[in-house]
Amino acid sequence: MDKLLELINQNSEFTTAQLAAMLGESEESITNKIKNYKEKGVIKGYKALIDWDKVPDSGVKAIIELKVTPKPETGFDDIAKIVMSYDNVENVYLAASSRYDLVATVKGETIQEIAEFVSKRLSTLDAVIGTATNFVLTQYKEGGVVFYDEDDEDEQRSLIL
């Protein structure tokens, strides 16, 4: 895998100069590669990683499992498209599992709101055979970043000499 992608996946705030230094390439080459990745749709965008647990009234999150009957031609794609068309749906995955087929994460103001969304919008879809809603209580890690334990990383290392 391209080290450049690994680095900006870790932290999108590196400057082009910093990335160039780290990878031993010219700034121009980094700029071109990033441009290329954007054009090809590899890099879809940059956004902030927010620890919503620290934001008052930031609502709740749930992981919804959906058991689905696939369509003969399009398989799971059609139903996935419908699920992802809702703004409060953050992620949609097709899973290799015997219990369910699609997994979606959903944001809402309250537990009731999400419960209502599942029962009224998702369960009622023709292809959906069953749903299971898992409410998120604590977000420990997101996008490779640990949210839960914010102790200084070297706190456990002692300077001995």
Partner: protein, 389 residues
């Protein structure tokens, strides 16, 4: 009660490590970002930890043989031949120790008689001087220079040799400068060593952490030098195993067997659990070394580039996980610079003088930290440098 008449004079004469001071200041403050620690930030690879756990589960909790388990010594022998091209007999030429530090101490106490001179290049790790003093030897400091990229030159060695010189300590890849010695440099040193009939204690604990095109060359791999060299290495830096406390010495049977006596009486044997884990590391850990090395390399490039850009120029270090930038642009001494930096921006780095007087004008910056951490620390250092202008 006055204890001074009870305490050993040599011990009382030893200065505490200069790295500590800034760490103590840092400990008193909130939100300090430290680039001062000299151990890997990685945890020991999981498969290695697992072998340690497994050995405990099976109840392997007894002493090991004094020299260390035979299987471990065989693996060390294989490893050293595989990675550094030098063969050691696991039966007679290897002793497993409590970290590389014990091996250094054993070696000095085994070789040095009262008044013998020991050549110590500086800046370097803080323990060589006090250990030499405690062994009854006289430390003779050789100052390496920034214009030589902190390499030791044969002329400098020769200049410091007297009839009393017995041993040269060779601390490369170097803590704190990151300097490495290439084969040609070692060959030059070897000529002087041969000519003046002295021995070499080669501290190669950072052997696996080199970043240039050329890999580390062991001094024992230089023609004629194996019989004159005690190599010290260990698991701490290469496999991120500092807390396991495991190192080793390799050398001529006649020397190792004498070191073994001291080890036997003072230590008995290295930690058993650590030895089981280390066998696994040597058998299946080459890819872990590579993974960590390439991660350090990225950090190293970032930190060198950024420091140079802010005017804290440094030559490109090719080994260990330290950069040794010049802070002379600030007009301050190393101590002042580091002290002001920690109070103004809460960033802890170590003044170069902690590693010898010739470290004046420099500071040691460790990059055994995550990129996120390094990036933040660099931003603070830059703010500090700009405020001083």
């Amino acid at each position: 009660m006055d204890y001074s008449k009870f305490l050993n004079e040599k011990v009382q004469g030893i200065k505490p490590s200069g790295i500590r001071k800034f760490f103590d200041i840092a400990n008193e403050m909130d939100h300090v970002i430290s680039l001062s620690i000299g151990e890997p930030d990685f945890t020991t690879p999981w498969h290695v930890r697992q072998e340690g756990i497994e050995s405990l589960r099976r109840g392997h909790t007894w002493y090991s043989p004094n020299r260390g388990f035979m299987e471990l010594r065989s693996q060390i022998s294989n490893y050293f031949a595989r990675r550094f091209n030098v063969e050691y007999n696991p039966e007679t030429e290897i002793v497993v120790t409590v970290g590389g530090s014990e091996a250094l101490d054993l070696c000095l106490r085994t070789l040095i008689d009262t008044g013998d001179e020991v050549l110590i290049p500086q800046p370097s790790f803080v323990c060589y001087e006090p250990m030499t003093v405690m062994a009854g030897g006289k430390p003779v400091i050789i100052e390496t220079k920034a214009e030589n990229e902190f390499r030791l030159t044969a002329e400098e060695v020769e200049k410091h040799i007297t009839p009393k010189t017995k041993l040269l300590i060779l601390p490369f890849p170097n803590n704190p400068t990151g300097a490495v010695m290439r084969r040609t440099h070692l060959e030059e040193i070897a000529k002087v060593v041969e000519k003046h009939n002295i021995l070499v204690l080669s501290d190669e604990i950072y052997a696996e952490l080199t970043y240039g095109k050329e890999r580390h060359v062991s001094f024992a791999d230089i023609k004629g030098m194996k019989e004159r060299t005690i190599v010290v290495n260990g698991f701490s830096k290469s496999y991120a195993m500092t807390g396991w406390r495991l190192g080793y010495a390799l050398g001529p049977e006649e020397i190792i067997s004498q070191m073994l006596k001291l080890h036997q009486y003072a230590i008995m044997s290295a930690p058993t659990t650590a030895q089981y884990a280390a066998i696994e590391a040597l058998k299946h850990g080459d890819s872990d070394i590579e993974r960590m090395r390439s991660e350090y390399d990225i950090r190293r490039r970032l930190i060198v580039d950024e420091l140079c850009r802010m005017g804290l120029t440094c030559f490109e270090p090719e080994g260990a996980f330290y950069v040794f930038p010049s802070i002379q642009i600030s007009g301050m001494t190393s101590e002042e610079f580091c002290e002001k930096l920690i109070f103004a921006q809460h960033v802890a780095i170590v003044p170069g003088t902690a590693f010898g007087e010739c470290g004046e004008g420099f500071a040691r910056v460790s990059y055994s930290y995550s990129l996120k951490h390094i990036k933040e620390a660099l931003e603070r250092i830059e703010r500090f440098v700009n405020e001083q202008k």
